[in-house]
C-alpha cells in the first residue's frame, strides 16, 4: 500500500545551509496496517507525512502510494492520489463558517460527488463518529475532541484506503485522546491503512501497534506491536 525506498529529503535553510529531514528511509506498509510514526519534533515525521500526499517531493528514492509511483505521477493526477488518502490535522482545520455536516459534505462536494451520495454518506459517517446529534452545530460550539471527530469524519467520508493522521491528539487531553484512538482503530478494522504521526507515549504504549521510529531523519526502529520508548 505504501513503500519508501531509499528516500532522502533535505530543505534549504538560508542560502548555503541544508537541513536533512529524511535520510535514506526504506519502509513498507501493507494494506490494513496501523502504523505509528514516532520521534521527537524535527525528527522528520511531518516530512514523512507530506511526502505521502506529495505536498513535498523527495530529493532521492522512490515512493509508492496506493499503487502509484509518486515520482512519475503527473501533476494533474494528484487529485486522484489524494482522493485515496484521508488526512487528519493536529489543529482540526474545520471551516468555522460551516456546520458540522457542511464541513464533512465539503470534502465530497469539491471532488464533484453527486448530491445523492453526499446526502447518504454524511449521516453515515456522523453516526460512525457518534456526532449525529451535532450535525447542525457550528465548530466553535464543539469541544476539542468533538472537533477532531468531525475532522476524522471528513477525512473518512470518501472511504479512502489510506488515512493519515498528523499528531491528531496533540491538542487534546489524554481522556479525549483515547476516544480518538478508538475511532481510528475502528476505521482501521474496515481494512483502512492508518498511518499516525505522534509523540504521545501513552497512546503508543497502550495500542501496541507497529511503531516506526525516526530520529534526525533516519529510521532507527521498525517494530511490530511496539511501544514508544524502548529501542530494541
Amino acid at each position: 500500500m505504501i513503500s519508501f525506498d531509499g528516500v532522502t529529503k533535505t530543505y534549504k535553510a538560508g542560502s548555503n545551509d541544508q537541513v536533512v529531514a529524511l535520510r535514506d528511509v526504506t519502509v513498507q506498509i501493507d494494506r490494513g496496517e496501523f502504523v505509528f510514526v514516532v520521534g521527537p519534533s524535527g525528527s522528520g515525521k511531518s516530512t514523512f507525512m507530506k511526502l505521502l500526499t506529495r505536498e513535498v517531493r523527495p530529493d532521492a528514492g522512490t515512493i509508492h502510494v496506493a499503487g502509484k509511483n509518486l515520482g512519475e505521477l503527473r501533476r494533474w493526477k494528484l487529485p486522484a492520489l489524494r482522493r485515496d488518502i484521508g488526512y487528519v490535522f493536529q489543529d482540526f482545520k474545520l471551516l468555522p463558517n460551516k456546520t458540522v455536516s457542511e464541513n464533512i459534505a465539503f470534502a465530497l462536494e469539491v471532488i464533484g460527488m453527486p448530491g445523492g451520495v453526499i446526502a447518504k454518506r454524511v449521516p453515515e459517517v456522523l453516526d460512525l463518529v457518534a456526532l449525529s446529534d451535532k450535525a447542525d452545530a457550528m465548530p466553535h460550539e464543539l469541544s476539542g475532541g468533538q472537533q477532531q471527530r468531525v475532522s476524522v469524519a471528513r477525512a473518512f467520508v470518501n472511504q479512502p484506503p489510506i488515512l493519515l493522521a498528523d499528531e491528531p491528539t496533540g491538542n487534546l487531553d489524554p481522556q479525549t485522546s483515547i476516544g480518538i484512538m478508538k475511532l481510528l482503530d475502528r476505521i482501521n478494522r474496515t481494512n483502512t491503512t492508518v498511518v499516525m504521526a505522534t509523540h504521545d507515549q501513552h497512546i503508543v504504549d497502550s495500542m501496541r501497534k507497529r511503531v516506526v521510529e525516526l530520529s534526525e531523519g533516519q529510521l532507527v526502529r521498525d517494530q511490530a506491536r511496539g511501544v514508544y520508548g524502548y529501542a530494541s
Binding site: 500526499t53 482522493r83 471532488i111
Partner: protein, 296 residues
Amino acid sequence: MRRWSYILNEAAIGLRRNLSMTIAVILSVTVSLSLLGASILLRQQVDAATDDWTGKIEVSIYLCDGLSCPPITDSQQQALRDNLEANPLVDQVFFESKQEAYAAFQRQFANEPVFLDNVEEQTLPASFRVKLTDPERFDAIKTQYEKSPGVESIVDQKELLDEFLAFSGVIRWSAGIIAAIAMVAAAVLVGNTVRMAAFARRDQTQIMKLVGASSWYVRLPFVLEGVLAGLLGAAIAWGMLVFGVDWMFTNLQGSLTFVPFLTTTQIMGVWPWLAVPAVAMTAGASVVALWGFLDV
C-alpha cells in the same frame, strides 16, 4: 450544477468580504474601459462621418472679387464654367454667389455670434463648387485652373478632411494609449486582490487540495471573482458611455447639423468591445496571480 453553485457562491463571498478592494478593482476597470470605449466610439464616429463626407467632397474654385486680384468679368466666369462642364474629370459644377456663401456661413455658425459679427457679406468670395469624378484627381484640376484669369485660389475639401482625420487620429491614439496604461494598472490591481482573496481562504484551499479537488476547482472561484469585478466595471463604463456620449451627440447635433452622429443603438453596440477585454484582462491577471500559488 452543484459544482457551479459552489464556485459562484465562493466568488460572491470573496467579493463581499473584500469590499474596498473590490470597489477599487471595479473603478479602475471602469476608468480604463471608458477610455477604450471612447477611443473605439471616436473611431466609429469618424468613420461614419468620413463615409458620409467622402461622397460630398468638392473642390472650391474661389473667384476674384477685387480684394487680392482684379475682379472676374462675366465673360471670364462664363468661359470658366463652360470649360469645367466640358472637363472629363468634373462630375458636376455649382455656382455659389457671395450672397449664398454668406447665407450658408450664417446657417453653419448660427450659434457662434463672434464669427457672424466679424464677417460681412462682402468678405466671402463667390466660387464654383466642383464635384470630381475621382476625388483623388484634385492636383490635375488645380494645375489646370490655377492660372485661369479671375481665379483667386483652389481649395480641396479633401485636404481639410485629411487634416481632420489626422487630428482625430491623434486623439484616438492618445485615448487608446492611456486606456492601455490604465488597463495594466487595473490588471495589477486585479491580480493583487485575487491573491489576497486566495490567501485569506488558504485554510479552505488547503483542505480542498488534500481531499483531492482539482487545481481548476480550487482556482476557479478566485478567477471568477476577478472576472465578475471586471464585468461589473465594464458594465459601468458602458452605461457611462451610452448616456454620456449620447447626451453629448444629441446636444452637438443641434449646432453641427452636417455631421452624421452615431445613433444610440450604435453607441450601445460598443458593449462587446468592453466586455471581451474586461473578461480577458481580469481572467488573465487572476490566473497569472494564482500561478503556483494554488497548485495542488
